[in-house]
C-alpha cells in the first residue's frame, strides 16, 4: 500500500517535472530589460507592434527598442544597476491605451547580475484603463505590495536564478558539459556541506531546526565584503605585495574572511548563550523555539539588508580570472581555491569530530543528549561549542558562496532550503550526513541543468529532498529509528 502510494507520487512528480522544458531556451549571462506587450484579451503571442521603449540610467540613454510583430522588445544593458524604462505612449496604436496598473509608463527598475529583467506593460481598450485609474484602485494597489509580504523586496521579480546558471557554453558537447557541470556541482555541494554541518549538529544537540542558519551564511559573506574593502587591509596588503607567500596571506579578502569566520563563530556563541540557552531553561517548547529562529532570521536578514543594501556585488579580489585547463575540464583558480579550501576544512572538521575529545562529545550529544548528559558530558558547554563552530563554518560557507557567485542580502536565505535538503538527504543530526547530503544536493542541482531549465535547479534539489523524505526519512547516513 505504502509502496504503491510512493510510486504513484513519484510518477506524479515526474510527470509535473517532465512537461517539456525544451522551450526554456534561457540565454544565461547578459543583463537586459525585456517584455512583451500583448493585445488586450488576446492570445499569448498576439503582440502589439511598433511601440517605442527607451531605457536610461541617470541622464544617459542606454538604448531604445520597438516591439516586434509578437509585441516583444528587449534592451541590453551594460551592467547590473538601476535603470529607468519609459514607454512612449504616443506610439501606442489608437485602439488601445496604457493601463496604469501596476504602474505608469515610466518605471524604475533594478537589474541584477546576469539577470534579464521583465518589465510588464499592459494595454486596454480606451476608457477601461481610465476606470482602473480611479483612486480606489491605486489605493488598493498600494496595499498589494503588502499582500505579497515583500514590501522591501519589490525588485524580486526576475531575480530568481538564485544560483547563477553555470557558464558552460551551449555549444559544448554533452560529455563536456556534464563534466563541467559536475565540477560546478561539486564546488556548490561543498559550499552547501560546509554551511550545513552546523545546521545538522545544532539539530542533533538541541533538536531545534535553526531557521536563521541561512542568514548566518549571509552574515559571513557580508562581513567579509565589508572588511575586504577596508583601507586598513588593502594598505597592509600593499606593504607585502611583493613577498610571495605573505602576498597571498595578507590579501584583504583572506584577512576579511578570517574576520568573518571569527564573527560568525561569535554570532553563534552569542545566540546560544543569550537566547537559546535561556529559552531552553524556560522550557520553551520546540515548536516555539522554531518560530523564534524564524524571528531571528527575519531580524538578521533585514539588518543585513539595511547595512549592506539590496544590491548584488562581487568581491573585488579574485574577480577576473583565466580558467586553467585540466584535461577534461577547465576551472578558474578561484574555483580551484574554493574547492581546495572546502575539502581541507571538511576533512579538518571530520577529523576533529572523529578524534578529539570535544568532537567526540559533540557527536555523542548530537546522537543522544540525555545519554551523553548522564555519562558526564557537560551538554551545555558542548552545545555552545557546536553553535560557535556552526556559526564559523556557515560564515566561511558564505564567503565561499560569495566568491563563487555574488554577495547579496538574501543569498543565505535562498541557500537555506538547499541546506535543509542536504541535511535531510544525509540524515538530520549527523555531521557526516550533512557533508554527504550537501554534496549530493549541489551535484543534483547543477547536473539537472543538463536536461532541464536552470530556473528549476532548486526545484529539483527540493524535489529530491521530498522523495528522500518519502522513502527513507532518516536520510542516507541517518540511523533507522522511529520517526513516524
Amino acid at each position: 500500500m505504502r509502496t504503491r502510494l510512493v510510486t504513484v507520487l513519484l510518477a506524479v512528480i515526474a510527470a509535473i517535472m517532465a512537461i517539456p522544458a525544451a522551450a526554456a531556451a534561457d540565454a544565461p549571462g547578459g543583463e537586459s530589460l525585456f517584455g512583451q506587450i500583448r493585445v488586450p484579451g488576446g492570445e499569448r503571442d498576439e503582440g502589439v507592434e511598433g511601440i517605442d521603449i527607451s531605457v536610461s540610467q541617470g541622464d544617459e540613454e542606454i538604448g531604445t527598442a520597438t516591439t516586434d510583430s509578437r509585441g516583444e522588445w528587449e534592451v541590453e544593458v551594460p551592467d547590473a544597476g538601476d535603470y529607468r524604462v519609459v514607454l512612449d505612449t504616443a506610439t501606442i496604436p489608437e485602439e488601445y491605451e496604457l493601463l496604469e496598473r501596476p504602474a505608469g509608463a515610466e518605471r524604475d527598475v533594478t537589474v541584477r547580475d546576469g539577470q534579464p529583467f521583465a518589465v510588464v506593460y499592459r494595454l486596454a481598450p480606451p476608457g477601461e484603463g481610465a476606470v482602473e485609474e480611479s483612486p480606489s484602485a491605486s489605493a488598493s494597489e498600494d496595499e498589494d505590495d503588502d499582500a505579497g509580504g515583500s514590501g522591501g523586496e519589490g525588485e524580486e521579480a526576475g531575480e530568481e536564478g538564485v544560483i547563477d546558471a553555470p557558464a558552460v557554453s551551449s555549444g559544448a558537447s554533452f560529455g563536456e558539459r556534464a563534466v563541467q557541470l559536475a565540477v560546478a556541482g561539486v564546488i556548490f555541494g561543498l559550499i552547501i556541506a560546509i554551511s550545513s554541518v552546523g545546521l545538522s549538529l545544532i539539530f542533533g544537540t538541541t533538536k531545534m531546526i535553526n531557521f536563521a542558519h541561512g542568514d548566518m551564511v549571509t552574515f559571513g559573506a557580508v562581513v567579509a565584503m565589508m572588511f575586504s574593502t577596508m583601507t586598513v587591509f588593502s594598505s597592509l596588503h600593499e606593504v607585502v605585495e611583493n613577498v610571495p607567500v605573505l602576498n597571498l596571506v595578507a590579501n584583504p579578502l583572506i584577512l576579511a574572511t578570517a574576520v568573518a569566520v571569527i564573527g560568525g563563530g561569535l554570532l553563534g556563541l552569542l545566540l546560544e548563550r543569550f537566547l537559546w540557552r535561556p529559552l531552553r531553561r524556560r522550557h520553551v517548547a520546540l515548536i516555539q523555539m522554531f518560530i523564534v529562529t524564524i524571528g531571528v532570521s527575519l531580524i538578521l536578514r533585514h539588518a543585513l539588508l539595511i547595512v549592506f543594501g539590496a544590491s548584488r556585488s562581487k568581491y573585488e579580489q579574485f574577480r577576473i580570472q583565466e580558467p586553467i585547463d585540466l584535461g577534461p575540464f577547465s576551472i578558474t583558480p578561484r574555483d580551484l581555491g574554493i574547492l581546495v579550501i572546502a575539502v581541507v576544512v571538511l576533512v579538518a572538521v571530520a577529523s576533529m569530530l572523529q578524534f578529539t575529545r570535544i568532537g567526540k562529545a559533540m557527536r555523542a550529544v548530537a546522537d543522544n543528549r540525555d545519554l551523553a548528559e548522564s555519562s558526564g558530558i557537560d551538554v551545555n558547554r558542548v552545545t555552545l561549542y557546536v553553535w560557535g563552530m556552526g556559526g564559523a563554518l556557515s560564515a566561511l560557507g558564505g564567503v565561499l558562496l560569495g566568491l563563487n557567485q555574488t554577495v547579496y542580502w538574501q543569498m543565505g536565505f535562498h541557500l537555506l532550503l538547499l541546506m535543509f535538503a542536504g541535511v535531510i538527504l544525509g540524515g538530520l543530526g549527523t555531521a557526516y550526513g550533512a557533508m554527504v547530503g550537501g554534496l549530493a544536493i549541489g551535484l543534483i542541482a547543477q547536473l539537472s541543468t543538463l536536461w532541464f531549465s536552470p530556473q528549476l535547479m532548486n526545484a529539483w534539489a527540493l524535489a529530491i529532498m521530498i522523495v528522500v523524505l518519502l522513502v527513507r526519512p532518516q536520510g542516507i547516513l541517518g540511523r533507522r529509528e522511529r520517526v513516524g
Partner: protein, 328 residues
C-alpha cells in the same frame, strides 16, 4: 506629521481586504497548528494554488469565475493530499520542512518558462476579475466615516472575503466543539495516546490539513480577485511567516486569535510604515528611504515574533494557563 491621517490609514488597512484575506488564511493555519499541532510552513503554497486556480481558469481556459473558485478549492485539496499522505506519518518537523519546500517548488514551477502557456510564467496572470466586479451589487462611489473610506469595489471584495472568513470561522467553531474537534485537540497533545484509543490519527490530520488548506486556497483566490493581477513571486515564504506571526499574536488555538492577530498586526505595520514615512518626509529621519522602511518592517515582525514567544506565548487572547501545562 498628521496623526489622524496615519490612524485613518492604519484603521483602513486593519479592516480592509488584505486583512480579511490574511484572516481567512490564518483561520486555516490555526486549524493546522493551533488545534491539530501540524507545523504547516507552506500555507502560502495553498494561497498560490488558490490564486492561480481562479486566474488560470478564467484567463487561460476562459471558464466562468465560479468554476475558478471550485478549481481553487480542488487544487488546495490535491495539494494537501500530496503533502499530507507522505509526510503526516513522520515526525512533526519533517512536515514543516516538506511544506516550506513544496510551497517553494510550486512557486518555481509556476514561474518557470515551460509553464508560461498556462500560468503566464514570471508575468503572471491579469484581467480575470472583471466578472467579479461586474456582479458587485454596491453602487459605485465612496463609503466611509471620516478619513476611513473605501470604494465600492473594495467594499465588495471586503464583503465577500469577510463573509468567507466568517463562514470559515463558523465551520471551525462547530467542528472544534464537536467530538471531531476533541480528537483533533487530542492529536495535538499526543498522537500516540489518541491512536491507542482507537482513532485513526492519520485520517484526522489529513482532514485538518485539507480543510485548513482549502481556507488558504480561498484566501489565495481572494488575493487574485482583489489585485486583479498576480505573479508567482508575491507568494514568497515570507507570507507564511507573516501568517504565523499574526496567528501567534492573536493567540493560536483560540477562536478569535486568527481574526484579532491579522487586524492588530496590519494596524501596527501600517502605522509603523506610515509614521516612518511621515518622519522621513518631514526630514526627521532623512537617511531612511523606502527600501529601508520595508526592511525595518520585516525586522519588526521578527522582533515581534521573538518577544511574543518569550513574553506572551499564548498571544493577545490566549489562555496563559493552557500554555503553562504544556511542559512535557
Amino acid at each position: 506629521m498628521d496623526f489622524m491621517n496615519i490612524l485613518a490609514i492604519s484603521l483602513e488597512t486593519a479592516i480592509g481586504p488584505i486583512t480579511a484575506i490574511y484572516v481567512l488564511a490564518a483561520i486555516g493555519l490555526n486549524l493546522h497548528f493551533g488545534y491539530t499541532g501540524l507545523l504547516n510552513f507552506g500555507q502560502v503554497g495553498f494561497m498560490l494554488v488558490g490564486a492561480y486556480g481562479v486566474a488560470v481558469c478564467v484567463t487561460t481556459f476562459g471558464l466562468p469565475l465560479w468554476v475558478g473558485f471550485l478549481v481553487s478549492v480542488a487544487c488546495a485539496t490535491v495539494l494537501a493530499l500530496l503533502l499530507g499522505v507522505p509526510t503526516l506519518r513522520l515526525r512533526a518537523d519533517y512536515l514543516a520542512i516538506a511544506t516550506i519546500a513544496v510551497a517553494e517548488v510550486l512557486r518555481l514551477l509556476y514561474r518557470a518558462e515551460f509553464a508560461r502557456p498556462v500560468t503566464g510564467g514570471v508575468y503572471g496572470r491579469q484581467s480575470f476579475a472583471d466578472r467579479f466586479y461586474d456582479v458587485n451589487p454596491i453602487p459605485s462611489g465612496s463609503y466611509g466615516v471620516g478619513d476611513v473610506d473605501f470604494s465600492a469595489n473594495q467594499l465588495w471584495v471586503m464583503l465577500v472575503t469577510w463573509g468567507l472568513a466568517a463562514v470559515a470561522l463558523l465551520i471551525t467553531l462547530a467542528l472544534m466543539s464537536s467530538p471531531w474537534g476533541r480528537v483533533i485537540k487530542g492529536i495535538r497533545e499526543d498522537e500516540d495516546a489518541v491512536r491507542s484509543l482507537g482513532k485513526n490519527v492519520f485520517v484526522y490530520k489529513l482532514q485538518s490539513l485539507v480543510l485548513g488548506g482549502v481556507f488558504g486556497g480561498l484566501a489565495g483566490a481572494m488575493i487574485a480577485l482583489n489585485q486583479q493581477n498576480i505573479t508567482p513571486d508575491q507568494f514568497m515564504p515570507q507570507v507564511t511567516f507573516y501568517l504565523w506571526a499574526m496567528l501567534l499574536l492573536g493567540g493560536a488555538a483560540t477562536t478569535w486569535g486568527p481574526v484579532i492577530g491579522p487586524m492588530v498586526m496590519w494596524f501596527l505595520l501600517t502605522a509603523f510604515d506610515e509614521s516612518l514615512r511621515a518622519l522621513s518626509s518631514a526630514g526627521v529621519l532623512e537617511f531612511i528611504g523606502n527600501s529601508e522602511i520595508g526592511a525595518l518592517r520585516h525586522a519588526f515582525v521578527g522582533v515581534a515574533l521573538l518577544l511574543l514567544i518569550v513574553y506572551r506565548p499564548q498571544g493577545l487572547i490566549g489562555n496563559r494557563k493552557e500554555m503553562l501545562v504544556n511542559v512535557k
